[in-house]
Subunit: 486 residues, 2 copies
């Protein structure tokens, strides 16, 4: 923990902007066993209040109710009682509440990510029925301005609108990964949020705060954890991920490129460079250890994925970013470029399959989009060869991306390879699929071929507003509609 | 609703006195499925706080816990999930809570009646375990002073101690019937609480406030409801009970006798007298209607009880109290005395069975303690005859009292009949039975022969601190130990 960095992060803690949204509620008075659904019309993040009154005799016993807060309509009727996933059931946004005083306004202490509230009356006196007179959400965000959706057509604009809302609702006191779950700052998510933020809400201080938080919680060895906890106090997660530690580097580079804030870049450069040094320890020569020996490297929520090749791609990409950052700050970058060249050559000889014209990963030579996407992003080959790889992939049964996070890198790789048209098709198809499925915000996971997919053993704990899926707003503005808001 | 009375009641609303009680907690850190019990060492009424910390990795998901607040040790292991009683399950003091920030102190918003808290960890991340670092109750009461337990021996003093705590814990912004359930002001309970209060805490203003609350919520006809709701606003219950409306009269008489507060007695006298007028409408001639035609009359929590005779006893007793109150205030009481005499004569000829030497109630001539107790309290016969009736009862299988409420009247009737020794034996036996069963406060119901008795279909919702059982403190001080504290 580096105190001076945490002091800077604290000084940058934003004041949240709050707007109150009301929902009408025209349900009949409810007795035991009755249910009602409140719809706020869109996805909101904030504190909920519900006004109750009664019909019949004076309430002579509390009303005992269950409140289920749903981001997406599919959650309303999910049976949460049989949840058996491997992450904690405690993430399910469900409360059991005694309403003692009626009429009254129930003010819930916790923050929810919510469009729908399902209310079940579990128990109530038979002498009265519970009435819902209205509900409101004091929705919060640290986004400070309104950004108009844009795009070349109505569908693009709709996708942008949903992406903008996704980013806005994840912008709280930090860039959160998801306001339902995990409600905290993860490095991989931060990088994509920051990119979308530069093209939209332009809250540079929030990025700066998050960079200082990560740098501030680095361990004795200088390693950055995958995630930072900020409540009730700032501490690092004890999880580190090979790729997430390295992604601090492009995030710092992007921040400096966008803002020109040289003081921050200079102050955090040693932390950034330290990630390269630490990552180097995972190499045997210039080839990264196979994924079973690598420790956790995220890449995508695909449990079968071999990550040896894609992780080396992340390394090369980040090392080049480190070199560029050094150059921009007037420091010598030659050693970094030299090392990146060695890792590039080694990657081609270790992973590229000349017969297939594709990268293959691990001792079983696994074919995946992930490996090829990251090698392209790392620029191990020129534009034409990357284009060939990315188009060739489509004709294989290589393991496909399952998260918007890896889809982002896929879109970026296609654009970098000059395949903007294909990138746009894939982006509108993938994110458009979520819009077609009723998304107000984009999801943590979306597998068009398997709508029930969850890495957690049950979609009940999936997040339906997840920061890493907000980047259509970045792509649309940067590449697809002439940076209208830039 | 009579506004001027409610304004007076509001002005008398007490400031609660709060003392903080801490419980040590030396349980091992808990994972999913683990439980712990916190013991505060005695019965308390107030707001609960629990300090949580963790063991292991940083908490990466909320802890989802169940808290069960128990007045009596028997509640800890009761399975509340299968509660099927006829009053609302919402009375069960159980909460499901997400603890988001750890370490932190959980502050629960509701007030509980509690000695034990059982904590079950329903769901938690496998990366950490929940630690309980301590718990506290900010215990509240409107009792303003400490009263030392007294009694002729250790057992009597122990009974007094428990009775004093029962009264104190029911003294909140009103005299509540029970701080777990129903947490509100009932007329029958108030009368007994006021009697015990005069001998102990002497909070006269709280009695005065409650008298004004009842008078203030009388209906257009002048009828006093059985109970007053004060939260979220003052309204009458739509339940009236024949006996409870009438018991306003002795409660006002006792208040005036104790305090000499003539202004209040004069102001509330018309309300008191109105209850007699209204009760008269339930008579056919001078005999009360049978209990199936009477409407609700409480008497005792015995569902099989025929109340025709005991209700007539309550009427006569209350009419005599009204007459006495008139006399004390210099008003003409002769009509009341005359009517009481007529009702007395009619009661003897309608209900007294010469062969049995006991009162019998209803068309089935049901034998019960209730009928005979109330006829004795009403003084329909002289002392000797009442003594004979009360002792004779013990040799029958007359329906016995099931609540401390009717036991109170039994004890009072015995004392009035000169049977103080028997009264004491019965009181120490009955209330002592609760002490032997671990009572920190006396209960709503206690049937020595049927420990699972409940008028609600399940003892899970029974109240274990119930005001109407506090009167040993009254009897001990007034009759059994020379009014030590008076």
């Amino acid at each position: 923990m580096i105190k001076k960095f945490l002091i800077k992060a604290k000084a940058l803690r934003p004041k949240l902007n709050t707007t109150t949204h009301f929902a009408e509620c025209s349900v009949a008075p409810m007795g035991a066993g009755d249910s009602a659904v409140i719809d706020f019309g869109t996805h909101l993040v904030g504190k909920v209040k519900i006004k109750f009154s009664y019909d019949g005799s004076p309430p002579d016993a509390p009303a005992f109710i269950r409140l289920k807060f749903c981001e997406h309509i599919s959650e309303i009727d999910e049976d949460t009682s049989d949840y058996r996933g491997w992450i904690s059931k405690s993430w399910i946004q469900e409360e059991y509440v005694h309403v003692d005083d009626i009429p009254s306004e129930l003010k819930l202490n916790r923050r929810y990510a919510v469009r729908y509230i399902k209310i079940d009356v579990i128990s109530i006196s038979s002498k009265y029925r519970l009435k819902i007179d209205g509900a409101s959400v004091d929705a919060s965000t640290s986004a400070e301005k309104t950004v108009e959706p844009c795009g070349e057509n109505a569908r693009a604009a709709k996708i942008d609108e949903v992406a903008l809302r996704t980013l806005k609702n994840c912008m709280q006191c930090e860039f959160e990964d998801g306001p339902k779950r995990d409600r905290r700052l993860w490095m991989g998510d931060l990088r994509l949020q920051a990119l979308a933020n530069y093209k939209t809400y332009k809250n540079y201080d929030l990025v700066k705060r998050c960079l200082y938080l990560f740098a501030g919680v680095s361990d004795k060895n200088g390693n950055i954890p995958a995630c930072v906890f900020t409540r009730p106090r700032v501490i690092p997660d004890d999880t580190t991920m090979f790729d997430y530690s390295l992604l601090f580097i492009p995030t710092l580079l992007d921040y400096f490129t966008e803002t020109g804030d040289k003081a921050t870049a200079i102050e955090l450069l040693p932390t950034a460079l330290r990630q390269i040094e630490i990552a180097k320890e995972s190499f045997d020569g210039d080839v990264l250890r196979d994924s079973d020996k690598l420790g956790w490297c995220f890449i995508d929520w695909s449990l079968e994925l071999n990550k040896q090749c894609s992780a080396q791609g992340v390394y090369i990409f980040c090392e080049k970013c480190a070199a560029k950052l050094c150059e921009l700050l007037g420091k010598d970058a030659s050693a970094l470029y030299d090392d990146a060249k060695k890792k590039t050559d080694a990657a081609i000889s270790a992973f590229f399959d000349d017969k297939l014209g594709l990268f293959a990963s691990g001792k079983d030579r696994q074919l995946s989009y992930a490996s090829n996407i990251w090698m392209c992003i790392a620029g191990v080959f020129g534009k034409e060869k990357c284009r060939d790889i990315l188009l060739r992939l489509e004709k294989t049964d290589a393991i496909r991306p399952v998260t918007p996070y890896l889809y982002h890198h896929y879109i970026q790789a296609l654009i970098d390879a000059g395949e903007s048209v294909r990138a746009k098709e894939i982006m509108y198809g993938y994110w458009g699929g979520m819009v077609d499925a009723g998304a107000d915000t984009f999801w943590e996971l979306y597998d068009p071929e398997n709508p029930d997919a969850s890495p957690y053993g049950s979609r009940t704990v999936n997040s339906y507003c997840h920061a890493w899926s907000c980047t259509p707003s970045y792509f649309i503005r940067k590449y697809f509609s002439g940076d209208k808001n830039d």
